[in-house]
């Protein structure tokens, strides 16, 4: 059995490589037979000619016999595939315009799809680098009456949950911070995370070098160890293993490097981040006994559910724990709740709607691509009816003809797909630049899965659009086709499909264009929102004073005042000030307050304000308008004077119909809280983002509550970055160990704050542009084909006296009919679909008439423009040539 199979295969392989030899042998063998046969006939007394013909007749179909034997020797499918391929390539080379358009179309469609899929894959689908991530949940506190469902957690709550919860295997905390690294070259402020010692074991990640933290390193005073990120280890320690066991200087204190984490390890929860930056080193948070008593909320918490415990069960248990905690600490806990969110959902929640829209958009692009190429192939198939018919008449089987068509489509798809991969690479690098930085969960790049996806898409596309023409071809009765092909009416059969495809393309493009238009308008509206201050030519940077060297609050005040004095003397600096956190670049501390002479509010209903600590000249530097009263005096900036300036929205919300000036408020922010007198009211600033409503804000002079880490803001004449070097010189003259960090301009920060909207709007617009371009090609193809089929008709009309104008209108009427049906359907589709992106829109309705009318008109114009070339060709038909057309 096996030997027979081996023998066959051997002969076939031989057949594959010695095809010529075998063919010649077969030829000889049959010729010999015919010669013998002929000779015998001659011997029976036939004429020479007759003898030859009789021998032939008796033998039957020689080429059929050859074919049968030939098939036996060779891997038929393989060989005829090669034949099909050669033929397909020859056909594609012959019609350059068709091939170019088809391949480019495919490349665009496939490229866009692969790029978007890569991003979606790495953001939404790719496994997070954690062990059994589906059991990891982030734990947030909630405050329903303020609409907060992702609030950071108080250490006391965390410790209470950790002690009493049974639903979790483990719980851990982390919080973003910054640590200033000195004595290792240039001082640098490095984004870091304070973590509970069990964080990495909970996540299921071990250090690649050295060890993890031990549990007794999580006690205050014993917590001077660090783990380095792979990137930091490479960048600052040259990837040297000797870094383990080294003592490094962070914030002026000694820390022991115990390990290096593998590349790509991050746990970044944007909602809880004070720095908005991904940590590059980790140190153990040192717990104290006081942490058991509730105070502020500032940590992020994560838990690993026990196997078999559902999210709902865990949530129920946690609700119970919050209720019992509230009984013990009603002042602190009333009105608060708890919210468990699976880690993946939490980490990708901000970008998810945008990605969903992008996926939809590229899906549309791919559909349009398929329709377009299908249309192109259909047009071509009908002009090749005769060729197909001839091939069928010569004995090609129906399957063989279908296969030929499919091969051509596949070759197109593969060429398009290959170009598409290049296009995807390009699109992807553009997308990665546009993606908001904090959304990077893991590096996004083209990998083999994406290549597989591209190939699968291109093959599927090839088969899809190959099917219509192939089916069309196979359906032809040979005699019909041969007869029909002589006349110019063959296209009728494919007309309906082609017209429908063109209409579908316009419809899809319109929906996409409308979506893009709405997103773009939203983005423009958002960008034109007045943030409440002037962001032009405003340089911002952070300076953090290490507590070891700067122990007393007076030292902070002095340092920053001296710094400001020197910076203001720099040429090209108009004004300079300090602030503890700049708009749009970080969280602002918030708390509750009382008003002197007014009753305190009930628990859970407290008056709330965010608090800013500002330096002298703040409102002038920022160009925040002073609405009433005055700004801080120099004395108030230097000595604690219990004065406060409030924002317009605080004044409206808590002093309705009253003049807030002269009122005293007590802000719960310090160990000992005094009443501060309101001396001014200033305009609102959109601190949390341009699409948010401003919250009540109180401004204190830096002297009232000195912070050691402050932002410096400098209003400059020209390029803000030109002032970085002179400012660094000033800082280094004052203290050579101090780094400048977060150097940026306010314009940049504003840009970053709308990066997500920008990302969505730009990409959808690009995809919509591609789609419309493809639709225009589609219309062009359909109209051009119709014109070429009616060449004779136009010739006759013109011979009978029709004007060019009449022919123009004939062609345009056809183009107009197709486009207007497409546009009408597209408008209907838009009205139905845009409500899906309501959440991504800002300042524009889902059915914004201006946008929809605008894109409809645009598409109509494009479609009619696409009719222009075929129309011109139609009017230039020479009647004589047209009548001789066949």
């Amino acid at each position: 059995m096996f030997s027979e199979w081996a023998n066959k295969t051997w002969l076939r392989l031989k057949g594959l490589f010695k095809r010529r030899q075998l063919d010649r042998d077969l030829e000889d063998e049959l010729a010999f037979h015919l010669a013998k046969s002929e000779q015998r006939n001659l011997e029976t007394g036939m004429e020479a000619n007759e003898a030859r013909y009789a021998a032939r007749r008796q033998f039957g179909n020689v080429s059929w016999t050859k074919q049968r034997s030939h098939e036996m020797w060779t891997f038929v499918s393989l060989e005829s595939l090669a034949q099909d391929l050669r033929y397909a390539l020859r056909m594609l080379r012959k019609s350059t315009a068709f091939s170019t358009v088809a391949i480019l179309t495919l490349a665009l469609g496939i490229g866009a799809n692969s790029a978007v899929f890569s991003v979606v894959y790495s953001v939404l689908l790719k496994a997070l680098p954690y062990r059994q991530e589906q059991r990891l949940v982030l734990i947030w506190e909630t405050k329903a009456n303020e609409g907060r469902d992702h609030n950071v957690v108080s250490p006391a709550n965390f410790l209470y949950w950790q002690k009493h919860s049974t639903a979790f295997e483990q719980m851990a905390t982390f919080f973003d911070d910054t640590s200033t690294l000195t004595r290792e070259g240039e001082p640098e402020e490095i984004p870091s995370q304070g973590i509970s010692t069990n964080l990495f074991s909970l996540l299921g990640i071990s250090p690649m070098l050295g060890r993890d933290f031990s549990s007794d390193e999580g006690r205050r005073g014993h917590n001077h160890q660090v783990l380095l990120s792979y990137g930091l280890w490479q960048r600052r320690f040259g990837g040297d293993r000797a870094a383990i066991g080294k003592l490094i200087r962070l914030d002026g204190e000694s820390f022991l490097v115990v390990g290096v984490m593998p590349p790509g390890v991050t746990l970044f929860a944007s909602q809880g981040s004070l720095t908005e930056k991904v940590a590059q080193l980790w140190w153990p948070y040192g717990w104290r006994d006081e942490d058991w008593a509730p105070r502020g909320r500032w940590m992020s918490a994560i838990g690993r559910l026990k196997p078999g415990v559902s999210l709902t069960q865990a949530q129920t248990e946690m609700n119970g724990l919050v209720a019992s905690f509230t009984k013990v600490y009603p002042d602190f806990e009333t009105g608060w709740g708890v919210n468990l969110v699976p880690v993946r959902e939490d980490l990708s929640s901000a970008i998810r709607p945008t990605l969903a829209v992008l996926l939809g958009a590229v899906g549309f692009v791919l559909l349009i691509t398929c329709a377009n190429v299908s249309n192109l192939l259909l047009s071509r198939a009908s002009s090749r009816d005769r060729e197909m018919a001839v091939r069928a008449a010569l004995g090609a089987s129906r399957w063989r003809i279908v296969r030929q068509s499919l091969t051509e489509s596949l070759v197109l798809a593969i060429l398009g797909g290959t170009l598409g991969i290049l296009g995807a690479q390009w699109t992807l690098s553009a997308m990665v630049l546009l993606i908001p930085k904090t959304l990077h969960m893991s590096p996004i790049h083209l990998d083999w899965r994406m290549v597989v996806f591209t190939t699968a898409v291109s093959l599927l596309t090839g088969l899809t659009f190959g099917l219509a023409p192939a089916w069309d071809t196979a359906r032809i009765g040979i005699s019909d086709a041969l007869r029909e092909a002589g006349q110019a009416q063959t296209g009728v059969r494919g007309h309906h499909i082609r017209n429908a495809l063109a209409v579908a393309q316009i419809t899809l493009s319109l929906v996409l264009l409308a979506g893009a238009g709405l997103l773009m308008r939203s983005f423009v509206m958002l960008s034109s929102v007045d943030p409440g201050f002037n962001p032009r030519n405003l340089l911002t940077l952070r300076i953090s004073l290490p507590s070891v060297k700067y122990a007393k609050p007076n030292q902070y005040i002095d340092f920053f005042q001296q710094l400001l004095e020197q910076v203001r003397t720099l040429p090209g600096v108009r004004a300079a000030t300090i602030d503890n956190s700049f708009p749009l670049t970080g969280m602002t501390p918030g708390t509750d307050f009382d008003i002197a002479g007014k009753p305190a509010r009930a628990r859970g209903q407290e008056r709330l304000t965010d608090v800013q600590l500002v330096g002298s000249d703040y409102f002038r530097t920022m160009r925040i308008p002073v609405l009433r009263g005055r700004t801080f005096s120099d004395r108030e900036e230097t000595i604690e004077s219990h004065v406060v300036i409030v924002s317009d929205s605080l004044a409206r919300q808590y002093f309705p119909g009253e003049d807030p000036l002269g009122h005293k408020i007590r802000i719960d922010m310090k160990d000992k809280n005094d009443f501060s007198e309101i001396i001014g009211v200033v305009g609102d600033v959109k601190r949390q983002g341009l699409d948010t409503t401003p919250v009540a804000m109180s401004y204190w002079p830096h002297a009232e509550l000195p912070f050691s880490s402050m932002m410096l803001a400098v209003r400059t004449d020209g390029d803000p970055f030109a002032k970085v070097a002179p400012i660094r010189d000033i800082v280094h003259r004052m203290d050579s160990d101090l780094p400048l960090s977060d150097v940026a301009t306010m314009d940049q920060a504003l840009g970053d704050s709308v990066a997500r909207q920008h990302f969505g709007a730009v990409l959808v617009t690009i995809f919509a542009a591609i789609a419309s371009f493809l639709a225009a090609i589609g219309i062009y193809g359909v109209v051009a084909h119709a014109v070429s089929l009616r060449t004779r008709e136009f010739g006759i009309r013109m011979a009978l006296g029709a004007e060019q104008r009449d022919v123009w209108s004939l062609v345009f009427r056809f183009g107009f009919a197709i486009s207007s049906i497409g546009v009408a359907l597209g408008v209907a589709g838009t009205l139905a679909l845009t409500p899906l992106i309501r959440g991504l829109l800002f300042g524009v309705g889902t059915h914004d008439p201006g946008t929809i009318a605008g894109v409809a008109a645009l598409l109509m114009a494009m479609a009619l423009a696409a009719c222009w070339i075929p129309a011109r060709r139609a009017t230039h038909v020479d009647p004589i040539v047209a009548l001789h057309y066949e």
């Binding site: 023998n7 000889d28 010999f32 037979h33 039957g60």
Partner: protein, 113 residues
């Protein structure tokens, strides 16, 4: 092989292979010789469709039942000669036995009243 051979004198499906094997049992022959031998031996009753003969020869060769070599014919032309292999001889014995049993059975059925 899905040959449509229905006229009298055409070969039953599968019998062509048997006849080819049998004809080559006497020694190696070229294709024309095989056709002629069958024609003459059956006293002009069986006529091999010549077009079907060669694919059958090639198929048997592929199955390893025949071997072939090129030689010169009586009138000095290049001709392909086929010969039975050991496997072919064995196959011939099996098929002959099978044919005897089949034709005997059919004959017995036809003899019944």
């Amino acid at each position: 092989m899905k040959d449509k051979q229905k006229s009298p004198g055409d070969l039953l499906q599968g019998t062509l292979d048997l006849l080819i094997l049998k004809s080559l049992a006497r020694g190696s022959m070229h294709g024309y010789g095989v056709a002629e031998w069958i024609h003459q031996t059956s006293e002009d009753v069986l006529r091999v469709e010549e077009g079907a003969l060669y694919p059958a020869l090639h198929r048997l060769e592929l199955r390893g039942l025949l071997s072939s070599e090129w030689g010169l014919s009586d009138n000095n032309r290049r001709a392909k000669y086929y010969a039975l292999t050991a496997a072919g001889l064995k196959q011939l014995a099996q098929e002959t036995e099978y044919w005897r049993r089949m034709s005997g059975a059919v004959a017995r059925i036809l003899q019944t009243a």
